[in-house]
Every structure is written in C-alpha cells, then in structure tokens.
Symmetry: C2
Subunit: 253 residues, 2 copies
Amino acid sequence: MSILKSLKTLTLSLLVGTSLISGYAVAQQAPAKPKVLIFDVNETLLDLTSMRTSIGKALGGREDLLPLWFSTMLHHSLVDTVSGSYHDFGQIGVASLLMVAQNNNIDITSEQAKTAIITPLLTLPPHSDVKEGLAKLKAQGYKLVSLTNSSNKGVKAQFESAGLMSYFDARYSIEDIKIYKPDLRAYEWVLKKLNVAPNEAMMIAAHGWDVAGAKEAGLQTTFIARPGKALYPLAKKPDHVVKDLHELAALLK
Amino acid sequence: MSILKSLKTLTLSLLVGTSLISGYAVAQQAPAKPKVLIFDVNETLLDLTSMRTSIGKALGGREDLLPLWFSTMLHHSLVDTVSGSYHDFGQIGVASLLMVAQNNNIDITSEQAKTAIITPLLTLPPHSDVKEGLAKLKAQGYKLVSLTNSSNKGVKAQFESAGLMSYFDARYSIEDIKIYKPDLRAYEWVLKKLNVAPNEAMMIAAHGWDVAGAKEAGLQTTFIARPGKALYPLAKKPDHVVKDLHELAALLK
C-alpha cells in the first residue's frame, strides 16, 4: 500500500468512523438495522405476469410484448419527469400500449387499450411470498410503508384488491410531487415525510433502477430477484439481494 | 365566447403580438422559418434495423428483442440522468443487452454483448432519403447540426462511417453536459451554443419523446414518422409530421 493510499484510507476510516488495527482499515461495519422498510409495489409485491393475457388480447395475441409495454411505460414516465410534464402511471400505461401497438402495426383503440390495462393493473395478485413475508417483518417490529409510481388512488385500489392494506403504516405515491422514481427527489421526499435519515430506511424493490436510485439517495437497499428481473449492471450494488420476502425477513431478524 | 374568455384571448393576443380583427383573435401566424435545423441521429438519420442481426445473434436468435433492448437502453439513460449518474450510450447499450438476456434466460458474456453492439452501432447505414434530403436542406441555406445521446467519439465514428460528415456545421453530444435527452437542459444547452432563441431552431427526430422534450423547451419540432416509430400520445403535438427528409425539404422551401 502506498503512503498516499494509506493516508487516504486513514482519512476515510476516520471520516466514516471505522476502527484501525495496525494501521490498516477494518471493513466498515454493516449499517444498523433500518427503522423503516419502504416497499416498491408493482412487480415487487404484485405479480405483473397476470397482465400477460389482457395485454396479449389487446395486441392480437402478442403476449410476448408485455415486457416491451412495461419498459416503454417506465421510459415515458421519466420522459415526463425530465421534460417537466406529468401524467399518472395509468395514463402513461395506456399511451405506451398504443405506441407498442402502432409500432407493431396492430390496430387498437384508446378504449381497448384502457380496458386492457386499467382494471388488470388495479387487480394484480400479490406474489405468493408477500403476505406471509410482510406479516413476519411486521411481527419483527418494522415500520412498513410503500412508495410507488402508481397514483394514490391506484395503489389504494391495488392494495385493497390484493388484501395488503393492513400490513402498511403508510402509502406514498410520487403523484404528490409529480416526479417519478428513480429521481432522487422521490426518495428524499419520502425520507422527509418519514423523518428519518437516509441510512435509517431501506428501499426494497424488484427493479434494478429503483434500488439504484435509492442507493444514490443514501438509503439501504434490497433487491428482490423476481423471475425476469435483472439488476442494472452499471449502478452501485444493492446492500442485499434476496429471492423473496421470507429471505428478507430472515435477513432482518 | 364568454366575456372572461374574450378578455383572456385579448390579453393573450396582446402578449404574443397577434392582431385582432373585430375583437376576435386571429390565429397566431406560423412561426418564421428556423435559422438552424437540429437533427437527432440514431433512427432519425441512421437505420437501426440493421442491428437486428447482431442483437439476434447475441440473444440466441431472438431478433424480436431489438425493440426491447433499445427501449431498455433509453429508459436506463434517463435512470442515470434522474439519479445523478452518467455512463456513455454505448456502455448503457451493453448493460441493457445483458439485462434483456438475463431476463429472458439467455446466457451471454459482457464481451459478447459488447461485440453485438459497439461495432454495429458505430456503422449504422443512413436511411435511403438522408443524404439527398440533407443536401437539399443545405442547398436551401439552412444551418444543419446534430444533437445525439451518442458520445462525441461515437457520433463522429457514426457520421464518418455513414458518409454524413460534410453535411453538418456542428455535432453536439449530450456527453458534454452528461444529461440525456429529452431533459430540457439538453436542448437549452444547444440553443446557448448556437446562440439562437428557442423558436429560431427546429428539432427533427424520429422519436416522439425527443420532439416532446424539444417542444417543451420551446423549439419548433418535426417528427419523422420512420416505420415502427409512434408519437408519444400524451405530449404536445409536433409542428410537423413528415415521412422523410425529402418531405421536410419541401416543407421548408
């Protein structure tokens, strides 16, 4: 280790409060357990694959276009955010389905696109581990809240339909600030609402871009590796990767 | 027309300088011809469909995943922008291909992803109307510049390969500000570089999100309706929709 590098390590160690043994930095301790767990909703708690049928039906049988529709919706939520516009997630979902249809020479009307998306999106079933996992985390004493790109009305309908209302202390929607995740301001807004420091909160999501944003905002992060959900390779690694909420509950015991 | 509405129209007319006849506002005149034409590059000038083969090969034959790869790349360019990060468009392209592969249970290495993307992206052919169209616009006296999400080095290689260097007065890449289009700051930055007012410039793109951002930034906009490219239905309409650069040249005569 060069002198310069040693000095840098020493300075860093003093700054972050890690201990030094024989002049070498000991790895920084894992952060304390979070005070509050912030859950993403779509795909993280609720299973989107149930929409394959309705999307496929609207697109003349092209069920394979579900991921392209969802990616187009996510892209355009950020198009709105960076260009100073806002439409709710349902509206963007309908618009995205119309774009995917047009790009694939499939004729659908706005009404058909709306039918294919709105009701199915509001009645997504929870993944099989979700209710038991949330119950365990709640029993372990954690405060559970949700933070979603869905509208306030949307997430309320989703939670009622999926039977998730009773597990959560609060529901937050980016609709209140009209800035989509993973814009850092979305996480900062929720931290302020919760009155906690960034590292006292943990963002839990099945989207690499969501845990990437939360990590940049200073939160602890856990990625739930749902089938078909890859991490964003260029982002900082999340603190934990788990396969479901049972594994998260065991981790936070 | 109600009195209130008439007053509003009158005030607006005075503010924007339109003339009034018999107390009714005359529709605002079409804006003057632009001083400078700002072209998007990928898909607008260069034909991305030529990458179907290389992407398909890397994804075990799944050529149908080209649009999902491009959408994932666009989404993650904005994920970077809103979370305060930056990676160049090529890096994001490689990362996006790795994500699409993993989400579809296809095994590829970073090296294979890089091979599938970097060289093909830098050697995209121009659409068939591009050279003649640019030549006409140049002959009509317009200043032509490009504004792309590709890196400076990337777009230089792309233009050299496609034989487009001689048509442009300047090339701009968002790499210089590390903020991806359609963030309003990207357009504002270019206007400042060009020393023109927003409505003295026209953004020309085959992407609904690009003309949407430019319109919000106050530029004139033209959407080139390339095959498989739909407008974003929730954005303000572009000033013009054309099928190719010949039609644009005729329009700006």
